[in-house]
């Protein structure tokens, strides 16, 4: 026997399909937007967690906020202070200068890091091509410029041509494979960003701290208004077995800066972009609300249209519970079809986003699928309640005697 709810759905295929499509769009939006917002953000967090360090040293004024920190912040001399004072707990200190650059039509936080420390940020990935300043020529050249300066701390006056001189080229970049794919960049290609021409000398598999790496001195000089004595932050690797908490307190005390676990970056990102989640979740709530209003109107119209059928069932002794079940089941079947369509749609949307916007990350997780299914199920049941209640109030005689 074909169940009545299914038979009703099949009898009104177009209407049922449109309602299911409304739910599918909402479910697809819910999963895709949430997975996109969180995926893109958590992908950054994942990359930071791949850094081979335990602590980050940040200026005290930032209150540990690593999410958007950039530019000249901490004196480079702190690296030596930490190494000297805490040699019993610190294995190494890596100063990094962060600078926002635009490539492939998107902003990226580029990391200026000394070639010798590059592996700390990149997860020790193998470079296709080579690393910038592999033999330290650029670093040596810059030191010479500093020594030639009239006063200690005076601003250097180095032109872009001098920086990019082929003898010691400081305008070299290593980028990750996703950025290379998105911008169709290849080894040896010259790209212009921040007003300078850079040569891509290496491409590294994605997954490291950032998508763009460059010589720290170059970043400091170009982004720090010629001041090459300060970095943005420092990554600190502790000796294995050292407790992070006390070590962070010790280092913070001696440097007058904040030492926070690298793992905190995820929380900082989430906290910084909380409004984005609120926005995305609000859009989702509105979309789901509209979808369920749609299903309620559809079911209500169905009840009004089928008062005769309902009266027939009642005349045959159908209880209110039976009628409620029929309307609920119809709502649930349509919602199940819509939800399934929405889940499939979200995977298609994720695929399309990866193809057309390869730098965005859509991380569809079971969690969001379960959330979407749960919201759809509860919404479908709630939307069906009023129409179902109306079904139980149908006047049998009026419905059965109407032509």
């Amino acid at each position: 026997m074909r169940a009545l709810p299914l038979a009703n759905i099949l009898q009104h295929k177009l209407r049922s399909l449109l309602t299911a499509a409304g739910i599918a769009v909402s479910v697809c939006m819910l999963i895709t937007l949430s997975s996109l917002a969180r995926g893109s953000l958590f992908e950054i967090a994942d990359r930071w967690e791949s850094i081979d360090a335990d602590l980050m040293l940040l200026p005290r004024g930032l209150r540990g906020d690593s999410a958007t920190v950039a530019g000249s912040q901490l004196p480079d001399g702190l690296a030596d202070v930490i190494t000297a004072r805490h040699s019993d707990i610190v294995e190494y200190v890596v100063p990094v200068f962060l600078w926002q650059l635009q490539l492939a039509g998107q902003d990226h936080m580029a990391a200026g890091v000394d070639a010798g420390h590059w592996y700390v940020l990149s997860g020790r990935a193998k470079v296709n091509g080579r690393l910038y300043d592999p033999d330290g020529r650029f670093a040596r050249w810059l030191d010479e410029q500093i020594l030639a300066a009239p006063d200690e701390g005076a601003l250097l006056d180095i032109s872009a041509d001098q920086l990019g001189d082929p003898d010691h080229n400081g305008l070299e970049l290593v980028i990750d494979s996703r950025l290379a794919g998105a911008g169709r960049y290849r080894l040896g290609q010259t790209v212009n960003t921040a007003g300078y021409d850079w040569t891509i000398v290496g491409i590294v598999p994605a997954g490291g701290m950032t998508r763009i790496y460059m010589p720290r001195r170059t970043a400091q000089y170009l982004a720090g208004s010629g001041n090459i004595t300060r970095s943005t932050l420092m990554f600190i690797k502790l000796i294995p077995g050292v407790d992070r908490g006390p070590a962070a307190r010790q280092i913070a005390e001696s440097t007058r800066a904040d030492a926070v676990p690298v793992a905190d970056h995820r929380d900082k990102l989430t906290s910084k972009f909380r409004m984005m989640f609120v926005y995305v979740d609000t859009v989702n709530v509105i979309a789901m609300g509209i979808a369920f209003l749609f299903i309620m109107v559809m079911l209500y119209a169905m009840v009004l249209q089928r008062t005769r059928d309902i009266a027939i069932l009642k005349a045959n002794g159908a209880s209110n519970a039976f009628l409620l079940r029929q309307v609920m089941a119809e709502s649930m079947i349509i919602t199940a079809i819509g939800t399934a369509g929405g889940i499939v749609g979200s995977f298609l949307a994720a695929w399309a986003i990866q193809v057309f916007r390869p730098l965005l990350t859509v991380q569809i997780t079971i969690r969001w699928i379960v959330i979407a299914v749960a919201i759809a199920t509860v919404g479908a049941a709630a939307s069906a309640l009023y129409p179902a209640w109306r079904a139980t109030r149908v006047d049998m005689v009026e419905a059965l005697t109407l032509e």
Binding site: M1, R2, L4, A7, N8, L10, Q11, R308, D309, A311, I312, L313, K314, A315, N316, G317, A318, S319, N320, F322, D395, M396, V397, L400, T401
Partner: protein, 227 residues
């Protein structure tokens, strides 16, 4: 001597008005009625005399404005659940306009009526389909059947759960003479063999002649009866 148990249905002082305001019509006027267990009763009367309304009130589809009804020895109250249960357990309805569910096949129309009652189709249902000559349309939807076929499927649905009391509103109204005879024969058969009680509203003297008793109605009241 008769006992209360002898009656499957009793109604006393039934009053019922339909419509609202100035369009309100007083349809049943203090009507009294008793139906014995195992009786085949025909109700005749001119159009608009209140026959169908009487059937709706007796079938507990709408409450009377005044008066009392007992079904199977049980006084009917205003409790919807009690009415649902009695309709489910005691009654079988044949409606004037068939009232089949359009989305379901003939067989599924019968099945859902059984499912509401917690039962499943059995050999008896196949027999009924056979007797009413609608086995070949069991898989069809109402829109794919003739009016006569729809009426016969509606009869199968009404009888499938072996109701103690069958209420039929003009069951032969849409049937040709051969099918009318078959239906009346079936009613007589279930009445004699199974002891099922039948209350049938009809315009047809021929149909009424199959009944044990014929009750005549006019202006919402019983005019008289023939045995």
């Amino acid at each position: 001597m008769t006992h209360a148990d002898d009656y499957i249905l009793t109604a006393a002082g039934l009053d019922k008005s339909l419509g609202r305001g100035r369009a309100r019509v007083h349809v049943l006027r203090g009507l009294d009625l008793t139906v014995r267990r195992g009786e085949f009763l025909a109700v005749m009367g001119p159009s608009g005399c209140g026959k169908s309304t009487l059937l709706h009130v007796l079938g507990l589809m709408t409450p009377p404005d005044a008066g009392a009804i007992s079904v199977n020895g049980q006084v009917v109250t205003n409790d919807d659940r009690q009415r649902d249960i009695l309709r489910r357990k005691i009654f079988g309805f044949v409606f004037q306009r068939f009232n089949l569910l359009g989305a379901l096949s003939a067989a599924d129309n019968v099945s859902i009526s059984l499912r509401v009652r917690g039962a499943k189709p059995d050999g008896y249902v196949s027999e009924l389909f056979e007797t009413m000559g609608v086995s070949d349309v069991a898989a069809r939807k109402p829109s794919e059947m003739s009016i006569g076929q729809q009426q016969r499927v509606a009869v199968v649905r009404a009888l499938a759960h072996r109701p103690a009391l069958v209420l039929a509103d003009e069951p032969t109204g849409n049937l040709d003479s051969a099918n009318s005879r078959a239906l009346l024969q079936l009613f007589k058969q279930i009445n004699r063999n199974n002891g099922q009680t039948i209350v049938m509203i009809t315009h047809s003297p021929e149909a009424a002649s199959s009944a044990d008793r014929v009750m005549r109605m006019q202006d919402g009241q019983i005019l008289g009866q023939d045995f």
